[in-house]
């Protein structure tokens, strides 16, 4: 896809100056990379290491430095009572944590799979030639451009139980028999979150898939048309296999994004056990309940899950990191 780019060597120059030149370039490259590496280690590497360290201590919000090392206590510890009953404590024995894990997984799987299907449909529409295509493309960028907090508030108002337009619309169309407290009721809170997330991120999915669709040469379809292949069969036999790399990348990006969801849930359904995700429960413990070390353990577990998935993605997806030498 990308043409090979010559990097250090310059054929025009002579042999001796060439090595001098590449030495100079290497030195310059080193100096160019230092500021970025320092910045990344200060804002990412070190804080990550400290967060993991805190998860093995009894640190509290007001006493970060007086903390003592307590091993895996925040993750799992047990005491044997006199009666012989073993009592487990720690995140891994905490039903609230497993509820959050379940919510996060459910949210990630449902939102990403629905977004992939809808994104594919929108991308297929946008890939067709028709008048007003530019308007549609502009329109679908609007949900993407709106800040998550703003969309959460906008939808919270539209989903309002008494004055929300969606209840009104649903009752007018006969889809709802009574007004629903979308965000407040435990049965519908997750649905509300899913609706808003799908509305907001399907455009991103659609644009990534569209970029993949546009790389498929048109003459394949012409040949298929001449052979009389049905359009549905064309989609499954030609489009889907050829767009799969782009689709997979989009899906994996979205899964990683969905697993760390925080803001939408924090604002749309505050304090609802039905939607509380790993990020939400972890921040709650860190800063609201003063369980700093406990929250750190939870954030470390989320990090581990995402790290494993990222490694799987890089490994399975065979992402090339060799710069210009493709």
């Amino acid at each position: 896809m990308v043409t090979d780019v010559l990097t250090a060597s310059v054929p025009a120059a002579g042999r001796k100056t060439r090595s001098e030149l590449s030495q100079q370039r290497l030195r310059a490259a080193r100096w160019f990379l230092v500021p970025m590496l320092v910045a990344l280690s200060v804002v990412a590497g070190w804080p990550l290491a400290r967060s993991i360290y805190f998860s093995f201590t009894d640190a509290s919000l007001n006493d970060l430095y007086g903390a003592e090392f307590i091993g895996f206590g925040n993750y799992l510890r047990w005491t044997v009572l006199d009666s012989g009953v073993v009592r487990y404590r720690g995140t891994l024995a905490d039903p609230a944590w497993w509820n959050a894990v379940w919510n996060t997984m459910r949210f990630a799987v449902l939102s990403v799979s629905i977004e992939a299907v809808l994104g594919m449909l929108v991308a297929l529409v946008l890939n067709a030639e028709f008048r007003g295509r530019g308007i549609v493309r502009a329109a679908i960028l609007i949900p993407w451009a709106i800040p998550t907090i703003v969309s959460a508030k906008m939808w919270a108002w539209m989903l309002n139980d008494q004055f929300g337009i969606l209840n009104d619309l649903g009752m007018r169309l006969g889809l709802l028999s009574q007004k629903v407290a979308w965000t407040a009721s435990a049965d519908t809170a997750m649905t509300a979150v899913l609706i808003v997330d799908i509305w907001k991120t399907t455009p991103f999915m659609a644009l990534l898939i569209l970029a993949g669709l546009q790389m498929i040469p048109k003459d394949i379809y012409e040949a298929a048309d001449i052979d009389g292949v049905h359009p549905v069969k064309q989609f499954f036999k030609i489009t889907l296999p050829l767009v799969r790399p782009a689709l997979m990348v989009a899906i994996i990006f979205r899964i990683l994004d969905a697993l760390r969801i925080f803001d939408l849930i924090y604002v749309l359904t505050p304090n609802s056990a039905a939607t509380k995700t790993m990020s939400v429960i972890s921040r709650e413990n860190l800063f609201d309940f003063d369980n700093f070390a406990y929250g750190s353990a939870q954030s470390t577990l989320l990090f581990l899950i995402i790290a494993i998935l990222t490694i799987l993605y890089i490994w399975l997806g065979k992402v090339r990191f060799d710069g210009g030498d493709r």
Partner: protein, 281 residues
Amino acid sequence: MGATFDLWKFTKTALFYLAVIAIVVIAVFPFYYAILTSFKTGTDLFRINYWPESFSLANYTAVFSQGSFPRNLLNSVFVASVTVIMALFLAVTAAFALSRVRFKGRGFLLMVILAVSMFPQIAVLAGLFEVIRALGIYNTPWALIFSYTIFTLPFTVWVLTTFMRDLPIEIEEAAIVDGATPWVIITRVFMPLMWPALVTTGLLAFIGAWNEFLFALTFTSSNDTRTVPVAIALLSGGSQYEIPWGIIMAASVIVTVPLVFLVLIFQRKIVSGLTAGGVKG
């Protein structure tokens, strides 16, 4: 090939345009409804209508006169702008090294950068909180500028590296023959060619910083230092049951309109910038 064929074709076209209309309406309606609501006050707010029926600017004057919303807006502009400038400055030179110079460990470095961009923000929250406290920048805009580097820098480096990699070698060769140093090559040869890429990545990083919520919520604690997303999330009325929906919608419209305009103006560039990192991988 009689009437039945035409009918089938007609149904197909009709269904297609129905899908097009559905996409546009679903995408735009919530924003339209927010604008509609922002012009309603008093009891009008609680009368559901689909078309504008009353018009009042009271919510907008309230947003700008009560509370610290103007200040929050300034905070957001400042934080997002400085974040973008710093990220671009660090990223341009790094991207040159990563895309045009062959050295050991380059592949590994790119992998680390991609990995950092996939970090869950919550994983560094505790450690960042400690660093920000230690630096004495807690509850200042600098805490946000500092922490936003974690997602703007990897992203800008990644996109600019893919862009620079595709620039032809010939222009660089000519500069090298003329005895230009790498710094001169970046500033004089590449920068003029890179304006489109810089604008795109800068804009995407700006949107990311403008919309960020978790760090802003955690690292600021007073009304005067908050950015707009946090201010909107925390806007509340006299009691839990009196949510000022009109004012919230007015504030939402104010922060969203500039973004929507920017996105519509730069839509082609944004689409190519969004897909640069993803599809080529």
